[in-house]
Every structure is written in structure tokens, then in C-alpha cells.
């Protein structure tokens, strides 16, 4: 009985404040948002009608939605792989007592300090002008035309910029994990004559399993919901070939003025990403146990 009372006190003190804020800011508006998906509200009009599941039907009958989803998969998968590999590689190097490692850590993190629109614009210039003039000078045809006016290359550009920005972020999380690997274990391995690869493969990687899970989870959710970079770098172009799902939802809701439909698309996206991340987390958790 005393114990129960104590538990309630702890619950009220530790759990309730944070949950209260979260419920008011996220959960209640989210439920409200769900409600809108069953209406034909345009976001501005003073009244609306209930139209049942019509919005959801439209989502699945819309070819462009499915197309967008496919593009997002390609983009997301590539970005997750490249940014995690790069972030992890940098983190491994920068935890090896390298001279000037603090300077390097800071340098690799800078892409995250500049946010949003201007970043996309600067990269826009790099792809449209720096690379093209490099192409003309060197005669390499691949670079002569802007990356951003070719559907396939525009996607590559998006992946490059995402990897560039995200890997510094992931590096920080990986470094935090790697620092926590007990030094005596590594020293013991060194005495046993383990080379750098063996140390990484058999000691460091298994020890930072949870960091990997976190990073992969973060990159999956971030890339599936990528919006800023899509807007400022390609704006979905050329001719909507890089219109990814979040950007499309945004267009549906705020440019096409089909607010209810946009909301329904967003809910569908939510369900998809939720399923993917649950699978990912479960699978890698199982890995953690084995290790």
C-alpha cells in the first residue's frame, strides 16, 4: 500500500508533467487532425461536409501518390545507408585520438548549424553553376548539364545533400556511443593482436549496437518526412520527378487547397513510416540481444 502510494507520487512528479505537455501539443491536435480527414474542409472555408472515407479512397486511387511513395523509398533507403556509413566512419576515425579531433568534429557538424532554405539555395548554385563550369573545363560530359534539370541526377543531388547534412549529426551520436566503449576491452584486444578492422568488427560495432538502432531510426523517419531540402533544392522538379511524399502532402494541403485530402495522405504516410520503424527497431533490437 505504501509502495503504491509512493509509485503514484513518482508518477505524478516524473511522468505527468511531460506527458501533459505532449498530450496537449501532439495527441489532441493529432486526433483533431484525424477528424479532418473525414471532411472536405479546404483549410479556410467556414463550413465543411462529412464525406466518410472518400479522402482515403482518393489517396489509394491516386497514381501520383504511389509514384511519390516509390521515389521516397529510393531516396530514403539511399540516404539512410550513405549517411550512416559516412557518419559512423567519421566517428570511428575521430575517436582514435587524432590530432585536432575537436576541430574536425566541429567542422563536420557545421552543416547542421545553418538551417533551412539558404542551405538548399547554396547547394542549388553548386549544382547548377560550380559543377557545370567544372564540367565544361574538364570536358566531362556528366557534369556539363545541371544535376537539377535531369530527373535522375536531381534525385542523386538530393541524396548527396541529405547525406552531407545528416552524417555530421549522426557522427555526434556515434561518437557519444563510441566513447562509452570501455577502454580496457579495446586494450585487451590490442594485446591479443587484433588489427583495426577486427577491433571495429568484433568490439566497437557490437558495443554501439543501440546507437546504430537509434541512428537508423532517426534517419528513416527524417528522410521519409524530408521537406525543407526537397523544397529549397529541387522544389519537386524537374517536372515533379523529385516530388517526395512530404512535399506532395504539403502541396495538396496548402497549394491545391484540398486540406482534408492532404491530411489523409499524411495519415497514410504516418502509418507506413510507423510500420517500417517498428520493423526496423524490432529487428535491430534482436541483434542487440544476440551481440
Amino acid at each position: 500500500m505504501v509502495k503504491k502510494k509512493a509509485s503514484i507520487r513518482i508518477f505524478l512528479l516524473f511522468v505527468v508533467p511531460a506527458m501533459f505537455i505532449w498530450i496537449t501539443v501532439v495527441l489532441i491536435p493529432f486526433i483533431y487532425g484525424l477528424f479532418i480527414t473525414f471532411t472536405d474542409w479546404n483549410g479556410l472555408s467556414m463550413d465543411y461536409n462529412f464525406i466518410g472515407f472518400d479522402n482515403y479512397k482518393s489517396v489509394f486511387l491516386d497514381n501520383t501518390f504511389i509514384e511519390s511513395l516509390k521515389k521516397t523509398f529510393v531516396y530514403s533507403f539511399s540516404s539512410v545507408v550513405f549517411s550512416n556509413l559516412l557518419g559512423l566512419a567519421i566517428a570511428l576515425i575521430l575517436t582514435c585520438k587524432i590530432k585536432g579531433q575537436n576541430l574536425f568534429r566541429m567542422g563536420f557538424f557545421t552543416p547542421n548549424i545553418i538551417g533551412g532554405i539558404i542551405l538548399g539555395y547554396i547547394w542549388n548554385f553548386i549544382f547548377a553553376f560550380a559543377l557545370t563550369s567544372f564540367g565544361r573545363m574538364s570536358g566531362i560530359e556528366f557534369f556539363e548539364k545541371s544535376f537539377l534539370t535531369d530527373p535522375k541526377k536531381a534525385m542523386i543531388a538530393l541524396i548527396i545533400v541529405t547525406t552531407w547534412q545528416m552524417s555530421g549529426y549522426l557522427m555526434v551520436i556515434y561518437i557519444a556511443g563510441l566513447i562509452n566503449v570501455p577502454k580496457d576491452v579495446i586494450e585487451a584486444a590490442e594485446i591479443d593482436g587484433a588489427g583495426w578492422w577486427k577491433k571495429i568488427r568484433y568490439i566497437k560495432l557490437p558495443m554501439i549496437r543501440s546507437s546504430i538502432t537509434i541512428c537508423v531510426f532517426l534517419t528513416i523517419t527524417r528522410t521519409f518526412m524530408a521537406f525543407d531540402i526537397n523544397l529549397s533544392l529541387t522544389a519537386g522538379g524537374p517536372y515533379k520527378s523529385t516530388e517526395m511524399i512530404s512535399y506532395k502532402i504539403y502541396q495538396t494541403a496548402f497549394s491545391n487547397m484540398k486540406f482534408g485530402l492532404g491530411q489523409a495522405q499524411a495519415v497514410v504516410l504516418f502509418i507506413i513510416v510507423a510500420i517500417i520503424s517498428i520493423i526496423q527497431v524490432t529487428v535491430s533490437r534482436r541483434g542487440e540481444v544476440e551481440a
Binding site: 512528479l13 575537436n102 548549424i113 533551412g116 547547394w123 504516418f270 520503424s277
Partner: protein
């Protein structure tokens, strides 16, 4: 061995250059006119012309925007740290069913696109409660939006701290609050610094949510003010970039000077852990 090391350096330095090129471009172009920037963003400026900075300070109403941004980011970061670390601690230590359920809810909400609840959020806080144009609203909402992410990271870290540590303290008669603040919190330093950097940076650069609530000139933040240089079809890029540079300067200075302490904090914490 030596050869291998210099090879590593070569790769690192090349990578680093790629990583900071846009940053370099940003800075050199603040000393040019917009036209010079558009014609050749890669040329060096002819002189250190500070006109763009003056223009940015004037048009963005810099001191006011700066103050607003500072109040919002600092409060969001600190309060988020307190609330999230506390809830994460209970989540990681108490095996209650409700905890599992709540944690799962939080994690799932991380994958919910902001669009789904953006307009309802404005309707509730702005419309029903009439809380538009108040910094406190943005702080409150900012905390709510970042709680899942922070709790996720904190709980992961706390799980790696041996339970025996606080069990010992509890047996000694410490209350849970005391155990948390005296024993656990200091151990959380490395992850706390990391999360604070993420949350702080995020709220410093936050645009979309903030712009929905703060519409008045006197409540503008830096990232909202930067949009005054954007026109319907183009933008006055040079002063806009000058404004952005001014906006990130404080973070940069903080990062430069705080860096040593931050890294030290991370290392210390890990040795103890």
C-alpha cells in the same frame, strides 16, 4: 603505420573541405551585392563591405528578433531537458505497464508528419485559447514537439547505466527525486549535452511552427525575420545571408568556446559511467 595515418588525414581534410564549402560560400557572399552573388557566387569579394550587415540589422529589427530567439531557444532547451530526463528516468527504471505504453506512444508520435496536427494545433492554441503572438506559446509547443525525441535518446542512455547504482542509493534511504538529481543526473552529462545541442539548434533555427504562432513584427524570431528578404519570385540574397550569419554567430561562438567544456563533459561522464 605513419603512412596510414597521413592517408587518414588526407581523407579527413578533403571531407572537411567538402563539408564546410557551403559555409565558406555563405560568408564570402555577405560582402557582395546580390547581383555580384548571383553572377558569380564563387568569386572573392572585392572589399569587406558591411552594407549587407547594416541592411540586415535594420530590416530584420535585429535586436528584437535576437532577443525573442534567445528567450525561446534557451527556455525550450532547459525546460525540455528537465521534463524529458525525468520522465525518461522513470521509463528506464520502473517496469510499469503504463510506462511501456506511454513510451511507445511517444516513439510512434515521432513518425507522425507535422502537417497532420499543424493546423489543429493552431486552431486550439491560437483560436480556442487565444494564445497567438506569445513567446510562451511557442516555448510550450516547442517543448511538446521535442519531448519524444529527447526521451527516446535519454532512455536509451539511461538503460546503459547500471541499475545497481541507484538501487544502492534507494536502499540508503534516498528518495527517488534525490537519487535522480544527485546521482543519475550528473552521469547523464554526455547525453544531456548532446540532446541540448540538438534541441537548442533545432529551436534556434525553427521556422514553420514559430511562424504559425508569431505574426507580429515585435514577436518575430531571426528565422522568420530572414524571410523579409524573400520576394515572390526571387530574393535579396546578400542581406539575407548576412542576417543568417549574424543569426548563427551566437551559436558558433557558444560552440567554439563551449566546445572544450562540452567535450570534457562528455568524456568525464563516460569514464564514471
Amino acid at each position: 603505420m605513419k603512412k596510414q595515418k597521413s592517408f587518414t588525414y588526407l581523407i579527413l581534410i578533403t571531407l572537411l573541405i567538402i563539408f564546410i564549402i557551403p559555409f565558406y560560400l555563405l560568408i564570402i557572399n555577405t560582402f557582395k551585392t546580390t547581383q555580384q552573388f548571383v553572377l558569380n557566387p564563387f568569386s572573392l569579394p572585392e572589399s569587406f563591405n558591411l552594407d549587407n550587415y547594416k541592411e540586415a540589422i535594420r530590416k530584420m529589427n535585429f535586436s528584437v528578433s535576437f532577443k525573442n530567439t534567445l528567450i525561446i531557444s534557451v527556455s525550450t532547451t532547459l525546460l525540455n531537458t528537465v521534463f524529458s530526463s525525468m520522465i525518461a528516468y522513470v521509463f528506464s527504471r520502473k517496469d510499469w505497464k503504463i510506462n511501456k505504453f506511454l513510451f511507445m506512444l511517444l516513439v510512434v508520435s515521432m513518425v507522425a508528419p507535422f502537417q497532420v496536427y499543424m493546423i489543429p494545433l493552431v486552431k486550439i492554441f491560437g483560436g480556442t485559447l487565444g494564445m497567438s503572438n506569445k513567446l510562451i506559446t511557442v516555448i510550450y509547443v516547442g517543448i511538446g514537439l521535442t519531448i519524444p525525441f529527447s526521451v527516446f535518446l535519454y532512455r536509451g542512455f539511461l538503460n546503459s547505466i547500471p541499475k545497481e547504482l541507484d538501487e544502492a542509493a534507494l536502499i540508503d534511504g534516498c528518495s527517488m527525486e534525490k537519487t535522480f538529481f544527485r546521482i543519475i543526473l550528473p552521469l547523464m552529462k554526455p547525453i544531456m549535452v548532446t540532446v541540448m545541442v540538438f534541441v537548442g539548434l533545432g529551436s534556434w533555427n525553427e521556422y514553420l511552427m514559430t511562424s504559425l504562432f508569431l505574426t507580429k513584427t515585435e514577436t518575430r524570431t531571426l528565422s522568420i525575420a530572414a524571410f523579409t528578404f524573400l520576394t515572390n519570385r526571387s530574393a535579396d540574397y546578400s542581406p539575407m545571408m548576412a542576417g543568417l550569419v549574424l543569426g548563427i554567430m551566437p551559436i558558433l561562438i557558444f560552440y567554439l568556446f563551449g566546445q572544450k567544456h562540452i567535450i570534457e563533459g562528455v568524456v568525464q561522464g563516460s569514464v564514471k559511467g
